[in-house]
């Protein structure tokens, strides 16, 4: 029972959204069908053909142990994208319920949960991930878990702020008067109305998860060899930068293209949901900082 949005919606399929969506779909298809598309086993060693440039057999050349770079890119995309999905998944599974409960019930529970979130947010994100990895060991799984936990507070805070707006609307009151339970109202009434706005944040988060995960792998704290991953490939390839630059550049470009496409796509959804914001392209941290400043301003105004 979704209420109709009173808000005026903008155009969804603007040229930039179409282009970014196409790019994302192409990347997704390539990565999903890596088994079919890749001509070589990503871990197959071929010492005789190491560090070769692009050729008919190896379109993007080979790396330091003669592994086909294109095949490794395709399989590496799996690790990178699935890893990023894992990070965002963890933050959804824990962050959204926290935000829902905190916003709906308010009171002590709300202030305790939000204090914890504030503490996590007040530390530099990557540093927390480092400490986590130092405690529980290096590896893809721990890196995903660490980043997932770090992404929780931001999503929880966003969900909470959305719930605070939604819970005073008439459809919630109607649902209450019918006698729906709180849980039912939260998950089947309020949540569907928040999802569209959450999508904007989630697509951005996905891009940043790819970046953060690549950073961890680049430092050798995330994905461990011989697993292929864009961040780890960059790390392995940079030693041979002057002789065969494609080793490092190819995965780097894949990361950038994916992240920028996700950013533009998220920007497009935002423009669709709120056309007045169209002219302000969104960068997550930029918006985070702006909301911090706005909060400060409001606090100042309230005191006046």
């Amino acid at each position: 029972m979704r209420t109709k949005k009173e808000k005026k919606l903008g155009k969804l399929f603007t040229p930039s959204v179409v282009i970014s969506l196409t790019v994302l779909v192409i990347i997704l298809v390539c990565v999903c069908f890596a088994d079919v598309l890749a001509q070589y086993d990503p871990n197959e060693l071929d010492i005789a053909n190491m560090l070769k440039g692009p050729s008919a057999e190896h379109w993007l050349g080979t790396d330091k142990t003669g592994r086909d770079i294109l095949s490794r890119l395709l399989y590496g995309g799996r690790t990178s994208l699935l890893g990023a999905l894992g990070v965002v998944g963890i933050s959804i599974v824990i962050g959204v319920p926290i935000g829902l409960l905190s916003g709906y019930h308010g009171g002590k529970l709300d202030s305790i949960l939000m204090r914890i979130c504030d503490v996590i947010v007040s530390f530099p994100a990557l540093l927390l991930a480092f400490v986590f990895v130092a405690a529980f060991g290096r590896g893809l799984f721990n890196a995903i878990l660490a980043l997932g936990i770090i992404y929780i507070p931001m999503l929880a805070k966003l969900t909470r702020s959305l719930v605070l707006v939604e819970k005073n609307k008439t459809y919630v009151e109607a649902a209450k008067s019918i006698g729906f339970s709180d849980m039912r109202i939260l998950f089947s009434q309020i949540l569907p109305n928040c999802i569209s706005t959450m999508m904007v944040e989630l697509t951005l988060d996905l891009g940043y998860a790819i970046l953060d995960l690549a950073s961890m792998s680049f430092l050798g704290l995330g994905v461990q060899p011989p697993t292929s991953d864009w961040g780890a490939m960059l790390e392995e390839g940079r030693i041979y930068l002057t002789t065969s630059p494609l080793c490092a550049i190819a995965p780097g470009i894949m990361i950038i293209v994916t992240v920028i496409a996700l950013n533009i796509f998220s920007d497009g959804i935002q423009g669709y949901l709120d056309p007045s914001q169209r002219k302000l392209p969104s960068i997550r941290s930029y918006r985070k900082l702006m909301s911090k400043l706005a909060a400060k301003k409001n606090a100042g105004k309230a005191a006046e």
Binding site: V119, A134, L221, K297, G300
Partner: protein, 312 residues
């Protein structure tokens, strides 16, 4: 104002206490035995192990270990490294200089590029110039700093192969030379961020009623733009840059790694890899301290500029 500063410093101390406890506990959750790291895989007698435990305070209860660590921090004694078995102070000293230099140089670079870019985009609002400016910052924001570093290395080796950007330095000029390229790479995110903020706050100022008054009075356009609008527009940029500098301290890890600069970040990652947890907890708490100090300072500066905040 005094009350506000006191309150912020109180929050800072509280956050530091929480952080120190968390870091201390997390580091001890690791299942690597510190004695094994200290010995480096060598076999020794029970007595030596006991002696090592005493030397590194590992024989004492956890709570006492924590207090000893904090006590050491207050006296400027960071303790002993497991791996090097020397004082962490001597190990960290020169590395702090590298990291701080990197972060401050890249903030300056970022501001020098971002502020004019933001003003330019605001003045040319909604034109092709503005759009390309937006796209430029969008791309910069999506580029991981370590990839930018790699591209810069490639570019330099192609264009100016003689430019020395790696290796050790012996004087200040060389120090600056070594740090310039890494700082440029680290500045990217900040350029993207600051130019956007500058653009939107500049547009806000240009549309403000006082600008129209100035135009009506016949003040020259350049003067309105740079003397009136820019001064007001730069305030949120300063606030955002100072918050961002905090995360740059950690972001420097990646850039240091690419350029093999021996800064705090590389040392931290090396220590995590070699399970040298005495160093991990020291560097982490130092980075958190730097991060929190900078954000506290930012809050205080912001309150000094905008009196409404300190009334809270």
């Amino acid at each position: 104002m005094g009350k506000f500063i006191l309150k912020r410093i109180g929050q800072l101390i509280l956050s530091l206490v929480i952080a120190s406890i968390l870091v201390f506990i997390f580091v001890r959750l690791s299942d690597t035995d510190p004695v094994a790291v200290i010995l480096g895989g060598k076999q020794t007698s029970q007595e030596t192990i006991q002696a090592i435990k005493e030397k590194f305070n590992l024989d004492k209860p956890i709570f006492q270990q924590y207090l000893l660590w904090i006590d050491g921090l207050f006296h400027g004694d960071l303790g002993l490294s497991f791996k090097y078995q020397t004082g962490i102070n001597e190990l960290i000293g020169p590395r702090i200089l590298t990291t701080l230099g990197l972060v401050s140089a890249s903030s300056v670079i970022a501001l020098v590029i971002a502020i004019p870019l933001g003003i330019f985009c605001a003045v040319k609002k909604h034109t092709l110039w503005d759009r390309s400016g937006s796209i430029f910052s969008l791309i910069l924001a999506g580029c991981p700093s370590f990839f930018v570093s790699i591209l810069l290395i490639l570019l330099i080796s192609a264009v100016a192969p003689s430019y020395p950007f790696t290796g050790t330095y012996s004087n200040f000029a060389e120090y600056c030379q070594r740090l310039f390229v890494p700082s440029l790479a680290l500045a990217c995110t900040m350029i993207a961020l600051a130019s956007r903020v500058m653009r939107s706050s500049m547009i806000e100022q240009i549309n403000a009623p006082y600008t129209m008054t100035a135009v009506a009075k016949g003040v020259p356009q350049g003067r309105i733009l740079f003397k009136h609008n820019m001064r007001n527009a730069v305030i949120p940029v300063i606030a955002i840059v100072s918050i961002q500098i905090g995360s740059m301290v950690v972001g420097a890890v990646l850039v240091e790694n690419v350029f093999s600069l021996s800064g705090l970040g590389t040392f931290l990652v090396d220590s995590i890899t070699s399970s040298d947890y005495a160093v991990v907890q020291d560097i982490t708490i130092m980075l958190v301290f730097l991060f929190l100090i900078i954000s506290t300072l930012a809050d205080i500066i912001y309150a000094a500029i905008d009196p409404r905040i300190r009334l809270k």
